[in-house]
């Protein structure tokens, strides 16, 4: 099948819808908030490749996101101001971490996989807070001081930068869709059903899961790196182990195993956290964790489908798309 045909097979209206949504979002929200919705959505999508499709719950995507953000920020400050090079360093950092811990985490399935990733998340968090403090700025986070404009990535014009980021995200979304539609995506879904059957077809189930993890790390890393580049800042919150459960929340509330779910979830998460800040003032972060925890408990026990599947039931007469799992 030619590449053009492959592109046509993926559900382009969905991607167009997401892109259109993010193009008009800055007219209602501040740009930093809109970009946060976008990149948290992409991060949750990366998480969802592992969880929604491969049924491997990951508690380590905060680490991959943070690695991307810190990799880019450290490279900006200490190596080069060139954005392409620095963002690549961020992505490479995330992918290398995933490549190193993947063989350990993927030895066994679920409780091991998620908790081993979480353990490594804590390990790197401690590493970033204390021994690497001169480079990471400890718990104050790292502000990017030196940044150069490069080609289309023009850092003096934030509006232009915002739309460039959206363009890049569309490319990423198409890549994700292609990945999920490829034989590899199908195999990943198959491993979640029965690894033995995948093995009997002649594929290595470990390799399928490992490469999926690497792709997921690439996606989280690039969203972290782009987010840090846009903000000009990388915070310790990005690698914090509790950020993981927020990613889970984003993916679950929107509907895990669907393409649009993570973006809906990310919008809800940020709406919740910012409206709480408005209502309760700056102490709201104390309550935010608890409220999110309560919502997750209710969603897990009663409404497992997520919001997207409920919305889809409403619009399914006019618009047909598949929630894949």
């Amino acid at each position: 099948m030619s590449f053009a045909k492959k592109i046509m097979k993926i559900d382009l209206p969905q991607i167009a819808g997401v892109a259109a949504f993010f193009c008009i979002l800055p007219f209602f929200l501040p740009r930093t908030l809109s970009i946060q919705v976008l990149f948290y959505g992409l991060l949750a999508l990366a998480f969802d490749i592992m969880y929604g499709y491969g049924h491997l719950l990951s508690f380590g995507h905060a680490l991959l996101f943070g690695a991307g953000a810190y990799g880019a920020a450290i490279s900006f400050n200490f190596l080069t101001g060139n954005p392409i090079a620095s963002i690549s360093v961020g992505i490479a950092f995330a992918v290398v971490i995933a490549a190193l811990i993947g063989p350990i985490a993927l030895r066994k399935r679920d409780p091991y996989f998620s908790l081993v990733l979480m353990a490594f998340n804590v390990f790197f968090y401690q590493l970033f807070v204390a021994p690497l403090a001169p480079w990471t700025g400890s718990d104050m986070g790292l502000t990017i001081t030196k940044i150069e404009s490069f080609g289309i990535l023009n850092f003096s014009n934030k509006t232009f930068l915002y739309y460039t980021m959206i363009l890049l995200s569309i490319v990423l979304m198409i890549l994700t869709k292609l990945f999920m539609k490829s034989r590899f995506g199908a195999l990943l879904v198959a491993t979640s059903e029965s690894e033995r059957k995948v093995e009997s077809l002649g594929y290595s189930s470990f390799r399928v899961k490992y490469y999926s993890l690497l792709f997921s790390a690439f996606l989280s890393g690039i969203s972290g790196a782009l987010f840090a580049t846009f903000l000009g800042y990388s915070g310790i919150d990005f690698v914090s182990p509790t950020f993981n459960i927020m990613i889970v929340f984003i993916a679950l509330i929107g509907g895990s195993g669907t393409f649009l779910g993570p973006f809906i979830g990310s919008f809800i998460y940020l709406a919740l956290s910012y409206s709480l800040t408005v209502v309760l003032g700056w102490h709201s972060s104390v309550y935010l964790d608890g409220i999110i925890g309560l919502v997750i408990i209710i969603v897990m026990l009663r409404f497992r489908g997520g919001l997207y599947r409920y919305l889809y039931k409403v619009v399914k007469d006019v618009y047909v798309s598949e929630p894949i799992r």
Partner: protein, 287 residues
């Protein structure tokens, strides 16, 4: 660095390691019997520490406060099991991971709201608040008490698991739940008892550890990963493996504290990673 300091760290490692393994036992048997990963274990550990802090303010008696803390956590875990955890039996494991993690999150938020953000501390009972010193070797008596307590509780748990009817049901239930039910045993009730028992062990661990460290809201999420590391190193379902693993993890923590205090707990996870690579079934695990 002199020898005395090293010896002191060794003793420290062994005593906290034994406590870790005691806490992990509850985590391990809940997984073995009901097939849920109970991350809320950390919440009960933290609640145990906070309850003993509050009870000490009122009664100023360590043993009595410990009793109150354990009983209080037992009561709370009963309600948690009835309302939330009950819906997770027999479901996919990721469901229990996410839900119990959320319980942990809610609990630490409630702790922040009730007790505030600043760390608390309590002092051990007066007769244990002494230091044994010979030459350069200084050692708080409380560590010995901690190790002895943990070892005693360990033996009690071993007796309960291996010598009583309840223990036999738990062991048989871990193997095959349906067949135990056909014998006319209400497994739902056994699950509840098991859950409360595990939570009380966590609270006991929290109460015993409380005089040693600052009591803070995030302590629950830290201990639960250490529990997991202990269980992985020791092997699921092996009581003595868990004890051995606890000591290994405790020692690695206390030795790394000498070199770099912030990395101490993180090193435990490296030990776990090495074990997962070289011996995935754990020290004494059956597979």
């Amino acid at each position: 660095m002199e020898l005395g300091y090293l010896l002191q760290q060794t003793m420290f490692g062994i005593s906290i390691g034994l406590t870790f393994s005691m806490i992990s036992i509850g985590f391990s048997i809940t997984f073995g019997l009901s097939r849920i990963i109970n991350l809320a274990h950390g919440a009960f550990y933290a609640l145990g520490a906070y309850f003993i802090f509050s009870a000490m303010m009122v009664f100023n008696n360590y043993a009595f406060s410990l009793l109150i803390a354990v009983a209080g956590v037992g009561l709370i875990s009963f309600f948690v099991e009835r309302v939330i955890v009950r819906g997770l039996y027999g479901k996919d494991i990721d469901l229990s991971l996410i839900t119990t993690f959320s319980i942990l999150l809610v609990a630490s938020t409630l702790i922040r709201v009730v007790w505030g953000l600043d760390p608390k501390s309590i002092s051990p009972p007066a007769f244990l608040n002494v230091q044994i010193s010979t030459g350069s070797f200084v050692f708080p008596a409380y560590y010995i008490f901690l190790a002895a307590c943990s070892a005693a509780i360990f033996i009690i748990v071993w007796i309960i698991i291996n010598k009583t009817m309840l223990g036999r049901i738990i062991k048989a239930g871990s193997e095959d739940k349906e067949r135990v039910e056909t014998l006319g045993i209400n497994m739902g009730r056994v699950f509840t008892i098991n859950y409360i028992f595990g939570s009380m062990l966590a609270a006991l661990g929290g109460g015993l550890m409380a005089p040693l460290m600052s009591i803070e809201p995030s302590m629950g999420s830290r201990i639960v990963l250490l529990c997991f590391a202990v269980v992985v190193v020791g092997g699921m379902g092996s009581i003595f493996g868990t004890m051995l693993a606890g000591i290994i993890i405790g020692l690695s923590i206390s030795y790394v504290t000498i070199l770099s205090p912030p990395m101490a707990e993180a090193t435990a996870f490296l030990v776990m990673a090495i074990f997962l690579l070289l011996r995935p079934k754990g020290l004494l695990g059956t597979g």
